[in-house]
């Protein structure tokens, strides 16, 4: 490293995007809170979200312009790499909280409600009829919840979805290989395949939710099984949707020739993100559906 590296580090001028983003975020969350209490209509939420989308469009647009104009040195590239890695780590920890809730319910709270460990008196006194099981269909106070009638199996749609996501992890790697050998045609084709598989996954997941609600009566308010099932798969599905949108944007940028074999961190960042949602899904498939 020479002193030149610091000279080349691009320090941008003032920016108005963050304050726009903050206003959008604040409006969205205040909108949701008021909507939940029936004090506001849903409109402020959508206005807030629109402001956030506008901010992201403008901010990312500016970064892309700067990147294409050659403002970014190797050192800036390294900053982006560190940042994306740590962002993904923060996402891992977010999912960890929900996996933690799943494991805690399965290992501790449900057996304890049935008298395991030293909780015999609790079980006798509170809900003597309750029997521990996983997946938990029959909850301690059935009147309070919509009990599910059956368990979501692992080897139907979820297995197909596993295959879809694993395949999409492979196609995005094929796209990366195409990018590295300057094959822009196959780059776009493989990205397109990845996007199709991604949205296909989301579609099937939506279909599975309809099946859960209509046929199994497995709902968000079905007790801890429904809670963990829908919150884990729901947040994952949300992340897949985001990832698929990001891939779509990368595909459009690839078609415009934004990427070179030497300089394509945006592509890699989205690919990392895609592998992250893939790995989370494997955890879901094993612990939510299968075991």
């Amino acid at each position: 490293m020479s002193s030149a590296t610091n000279e080349e580090y691009y320090v941008p001028h003032g920016t108005h995007w963050p304050i726009i983003g903050s206003i959008g975020l604040a409006l969205t969350v205040v909108g949701i809170a008021n909507y939940l209490h029936d004090t506001w209509s849903a409109t402020p939420i959508f206005v807030g979200l629109a402001i956030i989308v506008f901010m992201m469009y403008g901010w990312f647009g500016q970064v892309i312009t700067e990147s294409l104009s050659g403002f970014y040195s190797k050192q800036v590239d390294a900053t982006f790499r560190w940042s994306m890695s740590w962002f993904i780590f923060s996402e891992v920890m977010f999912f960890a909280a929900f996996f933690g809730a799943l494991f805690y319910a399965r290992q501790y709270s449900i057996p304890w409600l049935d008298g395991a460990s030293n909780n015999d008196a609790t079980a006798q006194y509170l809900w003597p009829d309750f029997e521990a099981a996983w997946p938990l269909l029959s909850v301690p106070v059935s009147e309070k919840f919509n009990e599910a009638t059956a368990v979501m199996g692992a080897w139907g749609l979820p297995a197909i979805n596993t295959a879809i996501l694993l395949t999409s992890g492979w196609t995005v790697t094929l796209a990366h290989w195409a990018l590295k050998r300057r094959d822009s045609t196959w780059l776009v084709y493989w990205l397109f395949a990845t996007v199709v598989l991604g949205f296909g996954f989301v579609g099937l997941q939506g279909y599975e939710y309809v099946h859960a609600y209509q046929d199994l009566n497995l709902r968000l308010d079905s007790g801890i099984y429904g809670s963990t099932f829908f919150m884990l798969t729901g947040f994952h599905g949300f992340h897949v949707t985001m990832g698929a949108i990001m891939l779509t944007i990368i595909m459009i940028r690839a078609a415009k020739g934004h990427f070179t074999p030497e300089n394509h961190f945006a592509f890699e960042a989205v690919a990392w993100y895609w592998h992250f949602v893939d790995v989370v899904w494997l955890g879901l498939f094993i612990f939510v559906y299968w075991l």
């Binding site: 490293m1 002193s3 590296t5 610091n6 000279e7 580090y9 691009y10 320090v11 001028h13 003032g14 108005h16 995007w17 963050p18 304050i19 983003g21 903050s22 206003i23 975020l25 604040a26 969350v29 205040v30 949701i32 809170a33 939940l36 104009s69 050659g70 403002f71 050192q75 900053t79 560190w82 940042s83 740590w86 780590f89 923060s90 920890m93 977010f94 960890a96 909280a97 929900f98 933690g100 809730a101 805690y104 319910a105 501790y108 709270s109 304890w112 409600l113 030293n118 509170l126 938990l136 909850v139 301690p140 919840f145 968000l220 308010d221 007790g223 801890i224 809670s227 963990t228 919150m231």
Partner: protein
């Protein structure tokens, strides 16, 4: 070559331009010093806001019986005081210090992601506006304690709880972005020759703190999200009637909450490790052991969370494990305290205000550490749990610990930042006033706690009256001392004796040795060579 030209022009402009004018300078700034200043002012405003609530608490507790406020309002005061001080005063103050100091200490032109740096800050005023607004809503603000245990916050939470939940979400987004920025800056922006093991300890401790923040703020986001769905969408994470467990909330919360207490103290260790060598005129004793101790504390902090829950029900094996793991933390913490003491051993000591606050930190933080050891012992914690002993403990580590280090950092670096020396006499008055007051305030709380006075109550048994009166008097005096501090801050910014570039005779580090006082708007446009 048109891109080359744009590139160079952009840099010319950027190197020579100073700050923009007016309010928009602060709204749109990407400069680490401006953003550091914004964080520090936000933190001071929050300190006074949270402090005002503490005054209400001490006023009500001046006498037994109910005098000034309703119990429900009292609960809102303790809750908001805790939330505002933790998330609004202490954390942003350390982020502000990191913004000001880390680029100067490692020889960087600015933070690694200047635009995101702006966003990390500008989310916070919105988050705290939302949090503060809950106090004026129907049903009142959050009244379940800053730990917002379920079912108080789920089944029994007021309507404003949802606004509180989203405020926490926003703070989390801000913290995670700020931490990513700090890590990228430290790992990627160091001047040539600034190897990891040459970094000042403040930089090291912030690197570790940022890692802790990225690891646990998302867990807190998960916890409040589960609260939100339990409240509105029929999930039963924290409801035993559906197979969940309110105790599960405590596990998830404290998995965040325990690393959080180290988030609030590790940067303080970094500050003290900078100040003590300067005024002892000796290099820091055991630099590498300090680094390893900080890392050990961080790792252990993930494995001890349930010591906050000894009385809420867990298997005996769990109690034993969490007790031993907790006590283990005293080893790396002890390493630090002994290293500071050994640094001072046979040093040519002087006692300027930053050093006084640093010494106050070492003594009183250690008192808080010892009471922490007592609380960490499971069998006796059954007696101490939820008493004023706990309140005394965490105020010793947070007020005379974290807050004292922030004040010490202000006195130590403000001559560098503004180019003005603060008034030494006023600084010393501030120290002695605060230190006497804070001990009058918190030390008696150990006694009432051990005697059984529960925390978070507006009324108490008559035998606690005297100690509570003493405590309240100390509280009012300490509050006034910080108004006095505000005066010193403004006075120093507005003028004062011109500080030398090195500021302190024994000062070391790039910010003192390579930069003038005050430093230019962009510190290092040319990276310094670190030997």
């Amino acid at each position: 070559m048109s891109t080359e030209i744009t590139h160079d022009t952009a840099h010319d402009e950027h190197d020579h331009h100073g700050p923009a004018k007016g309010l928009m300078r602060w709204v749109t700034t990407t400069n680490h010093k401006d953003i550091g200043t914004l964080y520090l002012w936000l933190s001071f405003i929050m300190l006074l806001y949270g402090g005002a609530m503490a005054m209400v608490i001490r006023l009500e507790l001046f006498q037994p019986g109910l005098q000034f406020v309703e119990p429900h309002f009292f609960n809102q005061m303790t809750t908001m005081h805790g939330l505002v001080m933790v998330f609004g005063a202490i954390m942003p103050a350390f982020v502000g210090l990191a913004n000001w100091l880390v680029p100067m200490m490692i020889g960087a032109p600015d933070m690694a992601l200047p635009r995101m740096n702006n966003w990390s800050f500008w989310i916070l005023p919105f988050a705290f506006a939302i949090l503060a607004s809950t106090s004026f809503m129907e049903g009142g603000g959050p009244a379940f304690g800053w730990t917002f245990y379920a079912p108080l916050s789920t089944t029994y939470g007021p309507d404003s709880t949802d606004f509180f939940i989203f405020a926490v979400h926003l703070m989390g987004i801000s913290s995670v972005m700020g931490s990513i920025n700090i890590i990228a800056t430290i790992l990627n922006m160091r001047a040539p020759g600034m190897t990891l093991m040459k970094m000042p300890l403040f930089v090291w401790t912030w690197l570790i703190t940022a890692y802790l923040l990225i690891a646990v703020m998302p867990v807190l986001a998960g916890a409040v999200t589960m609260m939100l769905t339990d409240r509105h969408f029929g999930t039963s994470f924290f409801d035993a009637a559906g197979g969940g467990d309110p105790v599960m909330f405590q596990h998830i919360f404290w998995f965040f909450g325990h690393p959080e207490v180290y988030i609030m103290i590790l940067p303080a260790f970094g500050v003290i490790s900078a100040i003590v060598p300067t005024f002892a005129r000796k290099p820091l004793f055991g630099y590498s052991s300090m680094v390893y101790a900080s890392a050990s504390i961080a790792i252990l902090s993930f494995m001890v969370w349930a010591h906050h829950m000894f009385t809420t029900g867990m298997p005996v094996a769990g109690e034993l494990y969490f007790m031993y793991a907790t006590i283990l933390i005293s080893v790396p913490t002890g390493v630090k305290v002994f290293n500071w003491v050994t640094t001072m051993w046979k040093g040519s000591m002087t006692f300027e205000t930053p050093m006084l606050f640093a010494l106050g930190f070492i003594v009183m933080f250690t008192i808080g550490g010892f009471s922490g050891l007592m609380l960490g012992v499971a069998p006796v914690d059954t007696q101490y749990h939820d008493t004023y002993f706990v309140v005394a403990h965490f105020h010793y580590v947070l007020v005379t610990g974290a807050l004292y280090s922030i004040i010490a950092a202000f006195y130590y670096w403000v001559p560098k930042w503004t180019g003005h020396m603060y008034d030494e006499t006023l600084g010393k008055i501030h120290f002695w006033w605060s230190t006497i007051a804070v001990n009058v305030l918190f030390f008696p709380q150990h006694f009432v706690g051990l005697a059984g006075m529960p925390r978070r109550i507006p009324d108490y048994s008559l035998q606690f009256a005297e100690f509570n009166q003493i405590s309240s008097i100390g509280g009012f005096a300490f509050g006034l001392a910080q108004i006095f501090f505000l005066y010193i801050v403004i006075k120093t910014i507005k003028g004062g004796v011109k500080a030398t570039d090195k500021v302190w005779e024994g000062a070391t580090g790039l910010e003192f040795e390579e930069l003038p006082s005050p430093p230019p708007y962009h510190s290092f446009t040319q990276a310094p060579q670190v030997k």
